[in-house]
């Protein structure tokens, strides 16, 4: 079984890896690039813990082949804080206690960021539906939704 050589951009850095055709983008991020921020909660696209963006589009990295990343731009949780400063969403998640165990947090942050880029002023309902593919078993979502709303408000004010 020959491996595939992939050149792609992750969080702005050009990277290369060799992958088996069967390996997912999530496998490649975690095992070949040591980016373990995206998590595998289900492997079937049902939990969202592996959320990343590919060419700006929110996807489950468990449902993308590593080989498909060729020539793409991938953004993961590891690229969300810039220059040592947390993204407003990250800050608000800590402030609002919007995480308990924290395993779903990277995926939810990536998904929430993608929402606010598309819609800076979402309603609570829009937020809940946008995040419906990100399971959280600890919080009951209440504080997550509050944190996203608060971050959105702060970002609107800042812009």
């Amino acid at each position: 079984m020959s491996k595939i050589h992939v050149t792609t951009k992750v969080n702005g850095d050009e990277v290369e890896y060799l992958c088996e055709p069967r390996e997912t983008l999530l496998d490649c991020l975690r095992d070949h690039l040591d980016l373990t921020g995206a998590k595998e909660g289900c492997g079937t696209g049902d939990c969202g813990a592996c959320s990343v963006t590919m060419d700006g589009r929110l996807v489950c990295s468990c449902l993308v082949l590593g080989a498909e990343a060729q020539g793409k731009e991938i953004a993961t949780i590891e690229g969300m804080a810039e220059d040592g400063a947390l993204h407003p969403l990250q800050r608000k998640f800590i402030e609002h206690a919007a995480l308990q165990c924290g395993i779903c947090t990277p995926g939810i942050l990536v998904a929430a960021k993608s929402l606010l880029e598309k819609n800076p002023d979402p309603t609570e309902t829009e937020m809940r539906y946008w995040l419906a593919g990100n399971l959280c078993r600890c919080t009951g979502y209440d504080k997550i939704i509050r944190a996203v709303m608060d971050a959105a408000a702060e970002m609107r004010e800042a812009s």
């Binding site: 069967r22 079937t44 082949l65 080989a67 498909e68």
Partner: protein
């Protein structure tokens, strides 16, 4: 597993035709990768069609119809400024599949090729009278979407055949469509029942109608008796009652982990009524 990225459908078809083992086409991958991951299907050849020119395009045709590339993701359909104005039911059917993340990848054609009677994307396509272009070893042919699935997990596509485009007819005047499905949660489930309604009105009177049910039979089912219940009416209570009855009568569901025969039959009638009301309002321009 061999991973292929052919530059054309002809080449994709050739690879598939000459393959000796299991072949799968990869567009959105939201079904193929799940099967791969769970060791249900490990293709010997996986043919990624996303490198073929035009597969990500949504194009209005000269006759007012639409041609949708096979790798267009659900989110791209939802975001399109005009498609949803013509065919809101088709767009909302696709939009109901999976999460935001799934929408970033999943395709209508993939949903169709999966052959599931519960596919959310398909009933509205059938109701719209959509067709697909199939490229195979003997060239291209057009096939009605309704004819593609032949049973749970099965399609009429022959070895070496690949769907190369989706064609949606022109909306025309005074038409409206809608799709509703029932799931236990608000998101993330497979349809227990689905129903698409596409109709046209003249004033208040329905002149054309198609009603298509999902997840209540081995394949997605267009129900003429439901259409007959609507045509010539103003969607009054009697018409809705007749529609409900016809929808129930058309059901041949199974009992499974997602629902019972009784439940699916009852809810098919409920959704038919609800979807018809939405489609009717849309046809009359009262609702977007």
């Amino acid at each position: 597993m061999q991973y292929h990225t052919p530059p054309s459908f002809e080449e994709a078809s050739r690879i598939a035709a000459s393959a000796s083992g299991t072949t799968r086409f990869l567009a959105g991958g939201t079904d193929v990768l799940v099967q791969l991951r769970s060791d249900l299907v490990t293709p010997d050849d996986l043919i990624d069609v996303k490198h073929i020119p035009g597969v990500k395009e949504i194009a209005r045709q000269e006759d007012g119809g639409w041609r949708i590339g096979v790798a267009v993701a659900g989110a791209e359909m939802t975001e399109h400024p005009d498609l949803g104005r013509d065919w809101p039911g088709i767009v909302e059917g696709m939009d109901l599949i999976g999460s935001t993340q799934i929408q970033g990848r999943a395709t209508l054609v993939g949903n169709l090729c999966n052959g599931s009677p519960a596919a959310d994307g398909v009933p509205a396509l059938v109701a719209a009278g959509a067709s697909v272009t199939v490229t195979g070893p003997n060239g291209a042919r057009d096939v009605a979407v309704a004819d593609i699935p032949t049973g749970p997990g099965k399609t009429c596509l022959e070895k070496g055949e690949v769907i190369s485009a989706l064609n949606i007819p022109a909306r025309g005047e005074n038409g409206g469509d809608a799709y509703l499905r029932f799931i236990p949660r608000t998101e993330m489930d497979i349809a227990v029942v689905g129903c698409a309604v596409n109709l046209r009105v003249d004033g208040d009177t329905i002149t054309e109608a198609r009603v298509v049910l999902g997840a209540v039979a081995p394949t997605i089912r267009a129900v003429q008796a439901c259409a007959d219940a609507l045509i010539g009416t103003t969607l009054d209570d009697a018409a809705l009652e007749a529609l409900d009855k016809a929808a129930r009568a058309a059901c041949e569901p199974i009992d499974d982990k997602r629902g019972t025969v009784e439940f699916r039959t009852d809810v098919a009638g409920v959704l038919a009524r609800r979807a018809a009301k939405i489609a009717y309002a849309r046809a009359k321009g009262e609702q977007s």
